[in-house]
Amino acid sequence: MHKGLLEGIKRGETVIEARGITKRFPGVVANDHIDFEIRAGEIHAVLGENGAGKTTLMNILFGLLQPDEGEIYIGGQRVNFRSPLDAIDLGIGMVHQHRKLVSAHTVIENIILGHPKAGRILNLKKAEEEIAELCEKYGFKVDLRAKIWQLSEGEKQAVEILKTLYRGARVLILDEPTSALTPSETRKLLASIEAMARDELAIVPFITHKLPIVLAISDRVTVLRRGRVVSCQQTECATEKSLAREMVGREVIFRIERARVERGNPILQVENLSARSDKGFLALRGASFSIHEGEILGLAGISGNGQQELAEVLAGLRKAEGGRVIFEGQDITDASVLQRWQMGIGYIPSERTEVGSIGDFSLVENVAMNFYFDERFCRQGIVDYGKLQQLTEEIVSEYGVAAPSPVIKAKNLSGGNLQRLILARVLSRKPRLLIANLPTQGLDVGATEFVQNKLMQAKKEKAAILLISEDLDEILSVSDRVAPIYEGELMGILPAEEAMRETIGAMMAGLRSEGGEP
């Protein structure tokens, strides 16, 4: 029994130390002799490009993966994790990049599920009190009796954290905790994280590209590049620029050049479009707008205000409840998904693992998702996998997808690299209309810049682009016109260059603009 290794540990003392951790996967060294240390009461950020090895390192510290080389010390004692159960036992908790809750169960049931004590006589009432106490202490606001599917992303995140805390975690590993959260949810989460750190918990949040957050809340920051530690420093000594440079290995320009393109004919016209959400309520209400050749329209809004439904209706994945969609003069309101792809509409979905890719398919087969119907790659019903492999190799190198070979399975890609692959695949179709739903979510600074440039390039090639994003900076710097959306209604459409941040922010919160042309 070594449960007590972290008992009585004091602020500033080393909680976990990893020495010389190395992990190889076929074709890549994901972690290359990493030395890493976490102290009690500190918030330690780990930064790195997509595929730098952050998730791998954390999985090793959590016992999900076994290192090929290297040692882990907890409270000064050498340990050998055989499974996450060992790590949990020693007080380590992890919240994964992709959530793992049972959606038909209540919050309490999820928190208790798999708890070591759950097998014994269960005192639900007591458990509820204890959990409520944790919520109180760290400022989580969750209805414990609600079912998981009723919760927002931020609340789900809180449940995951509560689950680990309830099991007695002293060290909390958060893998990209904010990437699916809205700005206000992010603020709440950060406040909770700080409260936990005050309580001598060591916290390792993982943030790939939201550098301002790293600077605002962390005490120390470790930067990984290609599986190696390039720096470990007090956060006070770092700036956004310096961190970006260390991550990417070169200077990163945070402003991107807005391409000047003559605005052409309208490609997409949307008239009074409405749609219902999965839960049945009217999530999109009477949206009307148009996007022209060589134009980027930015749909600004907090997630859950109808953007998803709009994107899906345009992609043909959801039925319109009313209104019309006209593409290059043709009414496509009832066209099938396949017809839309063939006409030149491209859709980058926000759910990259569930919708945008197939984990058990190779990269080549994943690329085939947007090409299996294409004359160039499929003749007389026979798919030309050789040619597709060639295409995959091309786009993998052009878009810098870190993958040892095009035949590995997509589930072995890091989160950001998968996103790049999806983007690359859709953009290489050269769509006339591109619907990009949160295209830079989970991407590192370098990749974000890269993607935004790719959007600019598509715009120069006369594509019409609908950019859906929660990141107001991104919207303002990339798009030509901005359409804030609130509760399923467009609040107006403004030219991006003249728009005031504050105005747009207010419109995203439901204030209607006065002179916005449709």
Binding site: V79, L85, L317, S336, Q339, E365, G381, V383
Partner: protein, 378 residues
Amino acid sequence: MRVGAYELKLEKRVALAGWEATIISILAIVFALALFSILFILAGVHPLSAYREILAYAFVNSYGLPLTVNRFIFLLLCTSAFIIPLRARLWNIGMTGQFYAGALGAFAVLLAFGGKALPPPHLPPALVIPLMVTAAALSGAVLGAIAGFLKGRFNVNEIVVTMLLNFILYWLVAHMIKEGGPFMNPGGRGESFELPPSVYAPLIAGTPFTILLALGAAVFLHFLFAKSRLGYQIKAHGHSPAAARYAGISTFKIPFLVFVMGGVLAGLAGYHYFAAVPGVYKIARNYGYFGDLAFYGIICGLISLGNPLAAIPIALLFGGLSVGGRYVQGKLDMGFGVDYALLGVLMITLVAFQFFYRYRMVWMKTRRETVSVDGNLP
């Protein structure tokens, strides 16, 4: 488990090569036979001589071998019928019903050509045989289409539908061949009228030509999944219906098509067993036995992991063991159904061994100074 400084660990496999899967399957078969020896020993029979008898009868003996081959054709068709929907992650539990439907379809053609008359009329084989094959395939397809349509359009559980259709078809066959039924044997023996000799299925070296259909279908399916657009669509739908839909793959078309295709193959099995196997040439009284045997298509399909070519040796093995097992049971006067017991043990071990498809065992060196968090988890 720990031996000295080494510890045996299970590790998740990153990938499974074809030869690794083959070795695992062979080990599983050897293990199953060893396990089953215990039953022979308990029954006072020497296991090696029992296995020799089984294998010799199934694969060498001039009476046993044709039986094996005919079972093999039947099983391979049923396995393929199961595999196609399986690749779309849909469960065809209805090979039995589709098989019955195929038999009924083939005999309906005979009836239409007056084949029931006595003495047996001469029918033009070049016309009637292709028609019988087609009718069998179509009847199976119609049955499959019902399940596929309900799944694709209304998302009705395909397992329930195919199971129910099995029952319905079982009673339909009973109705057709019973006394007074349209297919009744003039002698009224609870079986169907016999095939006129003029339309016996052609034999190739003593084997019904249906073996070509079965092997051809397996090869075709291999090609379908490896190269074709439809195969790609089926696999994509199988892995993730949401992603497939995003890619423009119809969530109606795929379930519908895979069940139609599966139904065609199981329907052909109906033609094969009742119109092409020498010595049968009628819908036999014990047609329910073959209906049950069709379920082994599920087992063979699962063991071969949905690989249509891997299904060939597995169907051959299962066909042979079922024939040989039944034989030694009589020969050695054993008190239990050796064929079913043997297939059962084999099935359980093969499925259990699939664990090693996903995990492998590795010896890890552990260091002395390591604190290990041993077994006393709360």
